[in-house]
Every structure is written in structure tokens, then in C-alpha cells.
């Protein structure tokens, strides 16, 4: 049985590992407005292109709304 990836607490099944930047783009995230934590570590923006996400990973994506 394959472990599901957790995104913001929800289980998601990935068909195969994919680059983080692709996952963000497909799911409509603007990289300029988010912070990403992968398995408990913040992912620096410059590493979005190289980071690969896979099943069993835990991903937290915080998307900021304007106003303050």
C-alpha cells in the first residue's frame, strides 16, 4: 500500500514524484504569495525548482491574503 502525501492536513495520492514548482503551478499557487514547509522544514524560494515531492511527504502551503 502506498502512503498518501499530506497537503495542509489532507491526503493526496501522487501518481509519481514531481517537482514542487510544477505541483504549485498546476494547483494555482502564486509562488510570490506563499510559504512552503516540506516535512517540517521551510523550503527556500530558490529551491522550489529543484525540490521533488513524493508520496509519504508532508507538505504545508500557506497562501497569504492581502490586508493588514
Amino acid at each position: 500500500m502506498v502512503n498518501a502525501m499530506k497537503i495542509n492536513g489532507n491526503n493526496i495520492n501522487l501518481i509519481s514524484p514531481i517537482p514542487l514548482v510544477e505541483f504549485l503551478s498546476v494547483n494555482g499557487y502564486d509562488p510570490e504569495r506563499i510559504a512552503v514547509e516540506l516535512n517540517g522544514d521551510i523550503v527556500p524560494k530558490k529551491e522550489y525548482a529543484d525540490a521533488i515531492i513524493k508520496d509519504s511527504d508532508s507538505l504545508e502551503i500557506v497562501s497569504f491574503v492581502g490586508g493588514g
Partner: protein, 267 residues
Amino acid sequence: MRIEMNGKGTDTSCRTVMQLHDALFPDADVMILNGYRISCDVRLNENDQIYFGKSKDFPDIEGPEMITSTRDSTFVHERLGKATVGIAGLGGLGSNIAAMLARSGIGCLVIADFDTVEPTNLNRQNYYIDSIGMNKTDSTENILLHINPFVKVDKHCTKIDENNAADIFGECDVVCEAFDSPSAKAMLVNTLLTGSSEIVIVSGSGMGGYYDSNIIRTEKRMERLYVCGDNVNGDTTTMVGLMAPRVNICAGHMANAVIRILMDSIQ
């Protein structure tokens, strides 16, 4: 018995608060014992902290104890007095958070904003007509020192970016992200979480309009990131814009999150 009375160590043979009151402060109408205001007699114990005062008079105590010993929740003030908290952005969130944290006895507030106070700010930000045209950092400092003259204010009238954020907020235990634009919010969170292994961030996201108060929440989203807000209703996503009540509710969530973080972690 040794107690602390009005900020000073004192030996007394009195056994109860009212005995002490009648002997030394018969005119006092305010009695605060160990951080709680009391109105009936209570037995005194070794090392109790007691304050007697008159409700309409300025307290006759010098130094920071004037603030801590004359207010409720003394032991909280004592712990928060050792903390340094950053506030990035002094708009509706930041100006109100700063005032609440100064009232709560935070020792040092590092405040940063490059802007000046404009008439349009007064619908929700903690400034006055007299503040218009002033740097927000100067006006906020002025207001904070009127609330608590012993809070240390470290002010930076500059735009925060990737290059200066760590220098300005590096000494903080907790930083409140109180910017308005989503990209500035993301920049600060990414910069401080990547550059430091200790700073905890409390961020505001979604407090526009006059939607239900109860959908504004505090959530721990990452190991060192708490997000307060409804996560949906921004300044441009509602037809109403930002209004004082929900901005203040969110600011209250953020200030309370700061206190909760500090009370658990600071020795």
C-alpha cells in the same frame, strides 16, 4: 513576614490585607494582591505582592514596577517584560498589536514601517487626527510611551526586504507579520524562517469586510508559523475593504498568540 508592598520589599506584622490597609493606606480604594484586584479581606502569606492605591490618583511608585504592580496579571507582566517582540508593518494590524503588547508589559518592541499616517488610515489604525503626516514609527512610539513609559521601543522607519529583515528582527523572540500585501507577507515569513532557527512568526491573513467575527481563527500552520485570520477575505477581495472591528479582532488574535507563545517558552 516579608512581603512586597507597592513595589518595595517590606517587613510586616499584619496578618491580613485589611490590617495592612487600615494601618498604612486607610484611604486606598484599590487593592491588588498577586495580580488580582480584591475587595474583601484576605490572609497574607510570605512573599505576597500587594498594591494599595487610589483609583483616581497617579501611582506613587517609581520605575517599571509602577506598571506591573498596579495592573492585573502581575506574574504575566513579569515574564513578558523579558521578551522582545517585532512588529513588521504599523497599519491596522501592527498599530493595534503594538498598543496591546505595550499594555501587556512586553519589555521591548521592535517596530518597522516606512509610511506616514494618512487620513484614510483612521478608519481602523491606532492613530489620531494629530498623527496625520507623522512617520508611523514616530506616532506609534509616542502612543506606546503614553500607555507604558517603560516599554523599550526600537523603531525603524524603513521598507523591510530580504536584505534587512534579519538585521532588524534578528533579536526578537516573536515577530508579528502585519504587512498589507500578500507578497510582502510571504517575503517576511520566508526570509525569517529560512534565516533564523529560533524566531517564531505570527502572521495576519484575511480580516477584510464585516463578515462573521467567528471565522477569524488562530492556527499553527508550520513549526514556527502561526496564522491568524479567515484566510479568505482580503483588502481587495471584498467590496467593502478593511474595517476597524475585524482588523482589531485579527490584531487581538495575533497579540494573544504572541503572549501564549512567550508564556510557554520564556523562563
